[in-house]
Structure formats: C-alpha cells, structure tokens
Symmetry: C2
Subunit: 765 residues, 2 copies
C-alpha cells in the first residue's frame, strides 16, 4: 500500500519525482477516449524504469501460447491487446545534450490528472548533467470530442543558458509488448513518410492484419529561432528534427497533433488520408480549441455520472477516479469493443474480455449512459454466439450448446489452464444474467426474443449437458467446476455455479413461455432446431438439481468438500503472510479454506430477494471471515451485502478498499495497469451498497444510508429516460427528477410517484 | 496398433523399407549399454523423417519451462536428457552423388536387432537417382564389455558401376533436442580436432557444465583404392573425407570406432586423452573382437534374466524385448543414474526419474541383477533426500518433511502442473515402499537404520503435515491429491494415496521400534531433531485416518466424489473414441468415470495380503471395467491381480498388451521412444502374475500357472545368493537351485527345503 497521491476532489496529483513509483504513476495517470488510450509515459526521452503503453481499441494479436503440458481442448493462442505506436514522443536536446529525467536533477516535479476536464499535466525543473537548467510544462489529451485525435502542448524554458536546441517529434511504431511470449514483435510496416507538414507510419498486425495509421504534425512557437529541419525515417519510425536557437528565460511551446486511424473503421487504402485530414484539422483548430472541446465533452460525461461525497475527500477522489477511468475506457459506440481488465492502462490479462464485463461493469453503464451503451455490451456476446457454440463443441458438447470463453477478443477462447478454461463456467451464467439485467433496467422487452433467447437457449443447452444424473444421489450434480473463488479448483457442486445454471434454465423457460406462439419465437426455434424435449429436460433439472446446504450452520455449501477443510478466519493467517497468493504455494492455498473473492456470497448478492435476511446474515457471517479479497472484484460485493445487513463499518472498509485500490496501490500491482473492470464494482458498492439501489421487476428502489465518515453524498443516474439525482445528508434523502415525465419509485420500500421536475424527500434511516 | 515386426524368439526383424514407420523403428531398434545409447538412426545421410537421438547417461540440461500461468511453488526449469553427439555418422557418395535412402529406390531392406547378442544389423540394396546400384550391410554395437566404446562395421558393394567414392565419417555435436522449449541448442564447443588418426569434439552443456568428449577413428578395407583424404571442421563438428576408387562387385568395409567420455567419470582435462585411448584400443582390437566381447557380456546378462516361453513366439519375443531394453538402459553401476521413461530410445518425458523406478522397475532389478544394482536404485533417493526436503519447504512444509519430486534429474522437482507437482504425492509412498521392498528381498536389514529410516522419517513427516483433522468428519483427511489415475485431479481422500501414507507411517514406526536404543538410531534421531511427539502424532493419524469405503458395493472409494459420477464400463465408450486421451477434451475425461491406470487396484496389488480374496475380487470387478489402460503402467498390475483371481484370459490379455506395447505400437506413440519403465511391468506381470512369485517376510513364494496359449515357460531369478530356474509345463512345475546352498521356498503355499543344486517339483494347479 502506498500513500503518495495527494487527496483532492477533482484531481490526481503527484508532487516530487520518485522514479521507483514511475510505473505506478504511468498507470494511474493514464488517459484515453474509448478509441485509444495510453499510459502516462513522458514525451521526452526517458532511460529510467518505464512501461511504454499506447493502445488502439479493438486491435489485438493472437500470440502463441506457452503451455507446459497441452490438454485436448486448449485454444491455440492467447489474444492480447497490442502496444501500438508512440505518438507523444518528442526528443529534446540542448547543444547535443538530451533532456532525460533519469540523468537530471529534477525539482518541482508535479503531475496532475484533472478528471473534471480530462487532461494530464506535467511540470518540472531539470538540471542537465552539463548544468543547464530548464523548466518544462506539458498538457496532453486524448480528445473525447474528436476521438481520432490526440494532442499535446509542451513548453520549455531555458533557465540559465541560451544555445542550440533540437526538437524532435516522432511517431514510433517499432514497439513490442512487454508480455510477448516469445519476444516477438507483432507489427509490420506498410508505409511511412516524414515531412515537415505531415509524418506518418502505417503498420499492420501480423496474423490478424489490422492496419493502423498514426500521423503527426507540430508547431513550435514562442522563444525559438528556427534553423535547419531534417527528417529521419527508420524501420516503422519517422521523425522530424527541428534545430533552432533558444534563449535564456524565453519559453518555447511545441504543439503536437496526432491521429490514430484503424482498419476497424476505414478501408485500408484510406487510412493515411483520413489520418492526415484529422491531423490537419486538429492543427488548424489549435491546441486550445481542442482542449476546450474536450473539456465540454467531459462535462457532459460528468453530468450523467458524477458522484459527490461530502466530508471525505479521500472517498470523493476515489469514486471519481473510478468513474473517470470507466468513462475513458469504454464509450459504448461500437458493439465490437469491450472492457479489458486494465482498460488502456496496461497490457496485463491481454486486454481481453472477461466475465467482469457482465458481472461488474454492466451496472455502471446501465445507470450512467444512454441505453445504447449497455445494449452494445450485451450485443457483444450475441455476436459471439457462434464462436461460443464452437468452443463448446471442442469440449465435446453438442446440439448448439454454447460455452462463452473465459478470455476473449473475438469470441474465441484464449485461456489455457484447464481448471479455468474448462471449469470456471459460471461465466456462462453471468452472460445470461446480463440479458435479464439489461432488459430489467431499460425495459427493452423485444431484446429477449430478438437476441436474448438465442443466447439463453445456447447457454441452457450447455448447462443441461454439463450436469449429469448421479444415481448415487438421485439428483443432478455438476462436477469439475471452479467457482469465482479461484483458490479452489475442480470442485464438485459449487453452489454458485449450480445456482447460476438453474437460474438460466428457469429464465430461458420463462422467456419461451412469454413469447410462445409468436412468429419471431417460432422462427428462432426452427432456426435452432429446438425440441420440446429440451424444455422438458430443463424442467426436470430444475426440479431435481442438487444444491449443497449445511443444515447445522444453515449455510449454502461452496462445494462438496468445503466443510471438511480446516475452517478458520483470515485473522488466523500469521502476520506477514498476506496476500497469500504472494506468500503461499498454490498447494497450500488450494487446500486452505480461504476464499479469493465472493463465491457463495456472489450468488446471495445476485439472488438476494430469494432469501430472508437471516439466511443472508448466516452466509455472510460464515464466508466473509474466510475471504481474503485478493481479487479486486471481491470487496464491492461484500460492501453491498454488508450494507444490506446494516454493517456500516464493514461496508465502508470494503468500499474504501475498492475505491482507492489503484490510487493507494493496495495490491502492489498497479504498475502493471489499473484494475479498470473492478472500478465498476466501486460504483456498484456505492449505488447498490450505500444508496441501496435496486431494480426489481423494472421498478427502481432506493434504501440509502450514510457511512459515518461522510457528511452527505449525491449521485446521478439515468433510468427509463429520466435523469435522477439522489442526494443524501445526515438527516434527509432527496430524489430529484430532472426530466419532464413522472416516475414511480420506491424509497425505503415505500412507493412514491416522483413528478416530472419534482422531488421526493424522506428522513434518512 | 501395427503389425510389421516379424515374430522371432531372439530377434526383432523388419523387412522392407517403410519410411512412414522409420521413427517407430528407430525407437524399437535402439541400442545402449547403460552408459550411452542411441536410436536406430542410419549411418549415412537420410533426408526423410527421422528423430536423431544419442544420449549419454546422467548428462542433462535444465531447459527453461513453458508455463502459461505461473503458480507459487513451481520449479524454474524442466531438466531433460540431452541429445548428444552423433558418432555413427558416415556420409557416402559416388561420383558426387550422395547415398540417401529418401532419394533412392530401396530393395531388400532388412533391419535386425539380435537381442541375444546385442547387435543391430541393417542391409539393403539401393538404386540412386543416377541409376547406380549399391548393396549395403552394417552392424553396430554399444559395447556392453567396454562401456565407453561404440563400434560399427559398414560394408558397401557397388553392384553396377565403378567410380570414385567419398567416405566421410564424422562426429557431429551440433545437435539439438527436438523438445527444446525455446528452440535453443544446449551444447558449447570446448575443443575439437580432425586428423586421419583421431578426430574428436569436446563439448560442454550450458548451465549444468557437463563436459563430453566424443572421438572416432576408422579403417577402410576391401574393395577400395584410396585417394586423397581431407579433414573438415565446423562448429562442434569434425569429419574426415576419404576419397577413393570403388569397383563393381567389390565390397569395401568401413570400421568405425568411437568413444563417449563424460565429466561424470573423468576430470575435464582428461576427457580427450581418455577418449583417444579408448578409441585407439578399440581400433586395435578390431570390430570382430569387440563384437565377440559384447556377445559374451550379453550372454552373461541373459544367464541371469532370460525368460523362455514355449509355444507362443509372439509372447517369447515380447518378453525378451522388454528384458533386453531394461538391461541396456540401466546396469546399476552408478547410484547417480536412474531409468528414464524412454531409456536411451527418445527424449520424451525428459529422460528423468519418475515413480516408475520404484513402483515398476525395482522388482525386475531385484530379481535379475546383483544386489548392488537394486541397492543403488534405492540409494539414489537417499542421496536426494535434502533436495526433497527443500522441495517440501517450497510448498510450505516444515521440520524436515520431504516431498520427492514427480520428475527429476538431480533431486530437484522439474514438473510444473500443479495437479501433478503438488498433488500426485503418492510417489512419496512408492519411494518409501521401495525401501521395504529392497530389504525384504535381499535381507539387508542394516539398510534400514543406515539409510532407510532417514528417508522414511522425512516422508512420514510430510504425510503427517499433509493430512489435516476434519472437525466435520472427526477424522484425518487428505485433500487435494491426484492418484495414479491422472484422469482425476485434485480430489479428496484418494484411497490409494491415503493408504500409502498410512503404510509409510506404520513402517517408519516399526523401524523406529526395531532399532530402538541402538547407537545408530540415536545418532540419526539426534541429527534429525526427532521428537517423540512426532511418533505419537503418527500413531494418532494411523488410528484416526479416514479411508473411503462403500458399504453397499464393498469397495474402497477411489476418492470422495467417485460414486457420484456416471458409472459405466469402458465398453460403453462409442467406437472410434479410444484412446480417450486422443479423442476427448480434458474436461470430459476428468468428469468421466474412466480410469487411466490402476489406482485403488494399485493399492490392492501392493497390500493384497491384507484383504480376503472376495474383497480383491469385488474391487477388481468394480474398477477394472472402467479402466482404459491408457498408461503403459496399467496392464501389468491388472495382469497380476487377474492371475491371483484365476482370470486366466484377462491376465493373458493384459500381459500381451504390456509385453508387445512397443513392438506393435499399441498406443500409437512408439516413434517418440519405447516405454522403457513399463517394460519392467511386463516382467512383473510374468513373474508375479503367471508364476505367482511373492516375497513375504523375506521368504520366496511361487504359485505358477500356465496361460492356455502357452506350452510352458521357464525363467531365472537370483534370490539371496541362490540362482533359481523356475520351469513350468502343462503338467509340472520344477524349481532348480543352481547354487550350492539350500533354500526354504514355498510352492503353492507349501514349504519345501530346496537343496543346493537340487530341485523340487509339483503338479501344476
């Protein structure tokens, strides 16, 4: 855990240059605009520790896997998000001496990520080895208004000298992934050109043949007497080398305008011309105009999604950082895109889609974005259905059974650990549940028969083949699964997975009943060669499935062997041995009772209305004390359940852990990138936890309370075309309807009719 | 399954050239002498499909592992036997045209491995693309009499032409392993020289720094008019290029003498001189003398270990092939060496030591070799005890607990699949049991206190930490194990593993009791900081361990969840889907009831005297029908149990499957190398199965019977300094004592006193 980020309600601020934290800061200060994004690398040369990262949405590479012992059914490759061209680079030197913070004395170093306006600023004073002193200030954006454009303004002031300077903006596509399995580079050069007016590199990925053009243009103004300009091209690299005279005390400013254009959106032969057009227009507008447009776009984002917390700046900064990262990672305009575990902040986990999207991210986008955004997230899986069917076929399933991948870029499975790939199948349930979640929130009933049921039938077919009849038990069982708690593998009858399977079968049957006889459904059932006997089998499973339950303790059983373990609370782990995944052998972890993240409790959270409060409490009190929360996805679910149980301190503890996970580098791994998908969990912990927000049968419920550490909070959501603001203080809760239409709404389980442009008010619980 | 090897009692014979079988034949026709060995590659150039393989005993390389997802506790590397220098190579060309069977028309091709005399012969007639015809005949040995020396005699006869020939014997150390994980080569050149008199390459392994000198010398005689000779050296390669005139119908013969000398046995600076001396002496002796010495050495091997089967040449050939391979793989002279799964016949499985040695190989060497050989096999693990303790420490075990590795070259674990590395811990039991096995057979009671107990205490300490007290069951349980049936992973309470653990604890306690108060034991216990409370804990585990048992079926439970599986016989697997490990996903295999190799039955086999015959029968009839025998180690154990149960047909079926596994390429994988360790299982199937041989409390028992397919059999064993021959016919069994001293012996459970140089006789059952 670290504590070097200054607390501020709207900005992330680092003061003082600490090279050993540089990679952490590169993650935290990342910026993006949904179409591309980047780690907070320096513009000028830096020979110290850095992880270079520029990413273009949707562009991936199927790297050859590393597998010690191959198993039948493994995928051939692991797709990973690609480190793409460095477009921010500007090498600077004075009288031949490079500006490189690793070799300078650095003073007054300051980095600020202004979340309200979406810009990254850096300033410092550097003394070069020769004694030359310069002051530098740079501001950078990935434009939210023009999503093809990035721009920066970089100012340098010689403090104690005059002389010759070389200013060398470049585009470098000769980059590689730090996690390349066989140290290979993944880009091929297709074309390049360097001129004073426009320079670009056009490169394509090996195998997947994505093409990306990155172009740039720059202007130097202020204290600068221009001399010669030269261009240099190298493999996948172009630069323009501008020489000139600088004068003591005179500030020169470089404005650099760049654009990334990928073949996801334009024909390959137009990439360069589109890129040049974007760069030209950006340069014509100038940096200040771009910045202004960008601020306005961010203002509109915040209008929909801001959360204000009074009386606790650390919580305030934390929640806004989470919302900011989510908004700059995924904007929902393209249903081919999704949300990688690190967003645009790092390479780890391949930038691929996990069940995180459905189980954690969806709730945020449902409530804070236009309906289209969540719809595109759900459609993403619809588009991958055929691949999911093929994936299941590889494992021996038949007749249209669909198993969605654990990790994917294009619908194909990428993961190859048998205990995950073949066994962590609860993901299939999360994908089914997301369909319900989307329809329940937005009331888009047609989605079910238009798209949802096709996916649900595929998944139900999978579940019905994945369980088997145990003669011994006289019930259906599900063997060989790994629950969300990946600290147990290959267990039998994981309660959560079985529960998700049953839920899917039931929801699918309900959907079939609801649309029975409709032309659309008939067409679909014909297309899928659906047989009535399938529905009968599903009902038989629903009626005869084994779900583990311990009568004595009154708790659901995480898996068949759980009670035979040596049960003990997390507090009994000897000091210095946490996190256990960094200190214990895998053998020891697997055999222990310790739980990585909500597992049985994940099911309790999803299906809370099925259980009385005592049941929820018994399960929480049994499982939570054994939970080590070593997944970033764990604390949020516990915060929600603790809130429901009135455990205010526990809820706050869990909330802080998720909200400031990266800002405080809680798990000592932020240097790899931020935990982007778990940031949506933070939002859930707030909205579903503190505000008690639920959508039941298409209706909105709130049961807010105030953590003791706060004076009040307010947040915004959009629900069925109404923009609502929920404001809680120590005494009251008020819900404002900022739209013209009224809305039925439940507050503390009492139903109100909230008038258009009106509000309701109630005393806080 | 293939059927191209001719049936013959003493030889393995292939007739006709079938390039698609070449890699299989290269495995089957392998030769070796315990110190080095090789696949049956051709001497002359061959551009067709081939897997080159030359191996020097004990020389290994720690290759970087390939792991997709690292787990704490994994070893850093995977040690593998190294492909070493090619010393057989002789390139041949006529008027510049190379002899290469891949480009020739090949007739009268014949390969013979004479097992009685230990030589490999190959002959053929080849028509080169130019139309030139030659007849070739070669004989090769890895000398059993001079274990540093290999030699060959290669004769060529031009059939339809005279002209210039180039004869180019070489030593090539520029080789690589086909299974190199990152396509790296593992040898560095240290020195080399090529002269007409002696040529050599001295190379060393990267990282492990083994040095090996390979040298050669040759003579050409017969139809040859010598011309110029040139030498060529390249990286790790030397050749001597002899030109001369050959004449139609005149046979020329090349004798090539080579030696491999490794730094396992000589100082690095003496390797070349020792090598040269060996080569010189071999050349001086000449090929015929070397061959004669070699035949005599093999005669002495067969004297101790032959098995004669009357009336079934296929069985006869099979059993001799197994004995032959075992004898040429391990000669027991060096306790640093062991028996790789493929011997000197291939690279697969890294050539490392597995539990195969203790569980399958030891029985053969106990009965057919001098005591020293088996003792060295057992000492091998004693020498690795410290590494086994370190291995256990890495996993979190303490206080001298020892976990022997699953796969090793030097005592360090090499395997990295968690379900094997951390869980397939029954290997530890096999290593403990081998100590008992050795002492029981040879009566070397001192071994226990001198070496055995130290290992047993380490292993017992491991077991006592590996089990845990289940409050729920009120018993000790063992979670997270993989039994010998690797088609189930990470199960709880695998009966076999728990049984082995209990046996170890009990045997250790017995050993402590037997030597109680002795100085040796006191010294040992002090060295190990042994506490009485440890013994008390072990006794508590012995008294309170859970072992799964199904009352209804009267069978021991393979693991906790087994009965909940969908149980069905192997016969229900649809046609064309076997072996399931080549046709089913790992997911499907794991959840099925199908058993890879004896698991519960492995325990029944080891501890048969604990169970009445009905119990053995019930377990056999429950588990055997679900066993797919997809490990080469499976059929032998079933053959033994089937024999005990009087199931003659089943026993014979299982026997044939193990005896001819490689000759008939039963599992379609012999091209990777022979299943050397399972060959010892064949011997067990014969001796413990058909002959009913047991050693109980240091006394020898036989209960022979004759499979219906045979007219009779006889075999030899050495027991307590007596050489015995057991001869069975349809009517009688006779046991001859070829030593001077008498011996008490049980035949059909009746005790006889077998006089020195006498015999006993009984009617067959």
């Amino acid at each position: 855990m670290k504590n070097y980020i200054k607390h501020d309600p709207w900005s992330i601020i680092e003061e003082g240059f600490e090279p050993e934290y540089n990679k952490i800061s590169e993650s935290i200060f990342s910026i993006g605009n949904g179409m591309f994004g980047q780690r907070a690398n320096f513009e000028e040369q830096y020979s110290g520790e850095t992880l270079k990262g520029n990413y273009v949405a949707g562009v991936y590479y199927p790297d050859k896997t590393r597998v010690g012992w191959w198993k039948n059914g493994y995928p051939e490759y692991f797709a990973k998000v690609l480190n793409a061209s460095n477009w921010i680079g500007i090498n600077i030197s004075f009288d031949g001496e490079a500006l490189d913070l690793a070799t300078c004395k650095v003073e007054e170093f300051r980095r600020e990520l202004n979340m309200k306006e979406g810009w990254l600023k850096r300033s410092f004073k550097a003394t070069l080895p020769s004694g030359k002193q310069v002051a530098v200030s740079s501001v950078r954006i990935c434009s939210m208004a023009r999503t093809k454009v990035g721009a920066l303004s970089y100012s340098v002031t010689p403090l104690n000298f005059s002389g010759e300077a070389q200013i060398t903006p470049y585009v470098d596509f000769d980059v590689m992934n730090a996690d390349s399995n066989y140290d290979e580079k993944f880009w091929n050069e297709q074309a390049k050109s360097a001129t004073e007016d426009f320079s670009y590199v056009l490169a394509s990925t090996k195998k997947t043949d994505f093409w990306v053009a990155t172009g740039m243009k720059f202007k130097i103004s202020g204290g600068w007497s221009a001399g010669e300009t030269a261009v240099v091209v190298k493999d996948k690299y172009v630069e323009v080398n501008a020489s000139g005279q600088v004068s003591e005390g005179k500030t020169l400013t470089i404005e650099k305008f760049a654009s990334n254009i990928s073949s996801m959106y334009f024909p390959k032969d137009q990439l360069v011309s589109v890129c040049q057009k974007e760069v030209d227009e950006a340069a014509k507008a100038g940096f200040d105009t771009l910045l202004q447009e960008h601020k306005e776009a961010w203002a509109s984002k915040w209008e929909k999604s801001d959360i204000i917390i009074d009386g606790d700046v650390s919580s305030q900064q934390g929640i806004r950082f989470n919302i900011f990262q989510l908004n700059q990672t995924y904007t929902g305009e393209d249903e081919r895109l999704n949300i990688g575990p690190k967003g645009f902040t790092g390479e780890k986990y391949g930038g691929s889609t996990y069940w995180d999207t459905e189980a954690y991210c969806l709730a945020f986008y449902l409530a804070t974005s236009d309906q289209e955004v969540a719809r595109n997230l759900v459609l993403y899986r619809y588009k991958h259905l055929q691949k999911a069917i093929e994936n299941a076929q590889k494992l021996g399933f038949t007749d249209g059974a669909a198993l969605y991948p654990m990790v994917t870029m294009n619908g194909e499975e990428c993961h190859n650990e048998w205990e995950i790939t073949f066994e962590e199948i609860h993901r299939n349930g999360a994908i089914a549940y997301a369909i319900y979640d989307y329809i329940n929130y937005h009331g888009d009933e047609n989605y079910l028969v238009d798209f949802g049921l096709e996916v649900l039938i595929g998944i139900s077919r999978f579940w019905s083949q994945r369980v088997h009849w145990s003669k011994n038990k006289g019930q259906y069982v599900m063997h060989g699964v790994t629950g969300p708690n990946e600290y147990e593998n290959n267990v039998n009858n994981n309660w959560y997975t079985s529960k998700m399977a049953l839920w899917t079968l039931n929801y699918t049957l309900e959907g079939l009943a609801k649309h029975k006889g409709s032309n659309k459904l008939n067409t679909l059932l014909q297309k899928l060669s659906f047989k009535d006997s399938e529905a009968e089998k599903w009902q038989h499973i629903l009626d005869n499935m084994y779900l583990g339950y311990d009568e004595k303790r009154g708790v659901f059983l995480q898996q068949d062997g759980f009670l035979d373990k040596e049960l003990m609370p997390v507090g009994d782990i000897p000091a210095g041995q946490r996190p256990i995944n960094q200190n214990w052998s895998w053998d020891r972890i697997l055999r222990s009772c310790f739980i990585k993240q909500a597992d049985t409790l994940q099911g309790i959270y999803l299906f809370e209305d099925e259980f009385d409060i005592e049941t929820i409490e018994r399960n929480f009190d049994f499982y939570e004390p054994m939970t080590v929360h070593e997944s970033s996805l764990s604390p949020c679910v516990h915060a929600i359940l603790a809130s429901k149980l009135g455990r205010k301190e526990k809820a706050y503890e869990m909330y802080i852990r998720t909200a400031r996970l990266d800002l405080d580098d809680y798990n000592n791994d932020t240097e790899d990138g931020c935990h982007t998908t778990s940031m949506a969990g933070t939002w859930m912990a707030f909205a579903k936890g503190f505000a008690g927000m639920r959508v039941r049968n298409g209706e909105l419920y709130f049961s807010p309370y105030l953590p003791d550490h706060w004076d009040g909070y307010s947040f915004k959501i959009k629900f069925r075309e109404r923009n609502l603001t929920i404001k809680a203080t120590k005494g009251h809760v008020t819900i404002f309807n900022e739209s013209a239409d009224d809305l039925g709404i439940y507050l503390f389980d009492k139903k109100y009719q909230l008038a258009g442009n009106g509000s309701i008010d109630a005393p806080m619980n």
